[in-house]
């Protein structure tokens, strides 16, 4: 019975937690969807591995409100993103732009892939060469002797 009550309380608690999260959302679902999509491409600078949509840091909430306010004022999504980049730099973008300072970031994985493929190719070819080396007569007679027991 006690467990049941505890479970009921926990469930209730969850319901309240969800209710608490839904603060300051406008009634307009189209606007909200836009805010959400922008919040997914902007980085939270406090908890740097999260985007604004996932983060509950104060700054993330402020920035989300800022995004919402700007969209409500009729600014385009690009204007909102430019506004954030102007203030927080490219780092605020979850997908960093391709620039001279970021080519290694974008190209690095392909470089590694290329290196790995090259290494694998080299290894396989060398193994094939070793495996296909024909036996000379001496080895052949030695093998035959072994096979006959």
């Amino acid at each position: 019975m006690r467990k049941l009550i505890a479970a009921a309380l926990l469930t209730l608690g969850c319901a309240f937690a969800v209710a608490g999260e839904a603060q300051r959302v406008s009634e307009d679902p189209v606007l909200e969807a836009k805010v959400q999509s922008l919040a997914e491409v902007l980085r939270c600078l406090v908890c740097q591995n999260q985007n604004l949509a996932d983060s509950h840091a104060d700054l993330a909430i402020d920035l989300k409100n800022q995004v919402r306010d700007m969209l409500r004022q009729g600014r385009s999504e690009k204007e909102v993103i430019d506004y954030m980049v102007e203030r927080y730099g490219d780092f605020v973008l979850y997908r960093p732009p391709l620039k001279t300072t970021t080519w290694l970031l974008w190209g690095g994985p392909f470089l590694l892939l290329g290196g790995g493929m090259g290494g694998l190719f080299y290894f396989l070819r060398r193994r094939k060469e070793l495996a296909e080396a024909p036996l000379d007569d001496q080895q052949r007679t030695a093998a035959a002797r072994l096979l006959q027991g």
Partner: protein
Amino acid sequence: MRRFLLPLIVFVVLVGFLAVGLRLNPREVPSPFIGKPAPAFTLSQLHQADAQFSPQDMRGQVWLLNVWASWCVSCRQEHPVLVELSRHKVAPIIGLDYKDDRDPAKAWLAEHGDPYRFSIWDRDGKVGIDYGVYGVPETFVIDKAGVVRMKHVGPLTQTVVSQKIIPLVKELNGA
């Protein structure tokens, strides 16, 4: 012997990358403001609610804008350094009280000392967003023309002040 050479090289390169990575501070995001005009705003002062301040008022002076708050723990760590800096009268320091309430902020300054010429009050953090503030405390060095010359994120230390800020302010004042 040769078969160990390649793994060894890979290992050394990897160690090199990790060693550099350990020394980097991921919280230090390069500020896009350096060399750009400090964003304009008008805010009321913390102590005198009817007195307004805008960065325009500081034209012709090299000044520091220090973002602080009474709820900010690392501001406590930084504060003695600021108080010391203000004694040397290197440059006027304006405080930006970020997302704070007036009373606790005033009490905090009364308790820890007030290094600021005055503080301005950014209740909802809008000016903070305009200045790209993401981790209080932050300090901006702004030159005579109102251009941001340096931004320091996190608590100021004696080393940062004596090796970076003071030389920079002197240079900007000389020019």
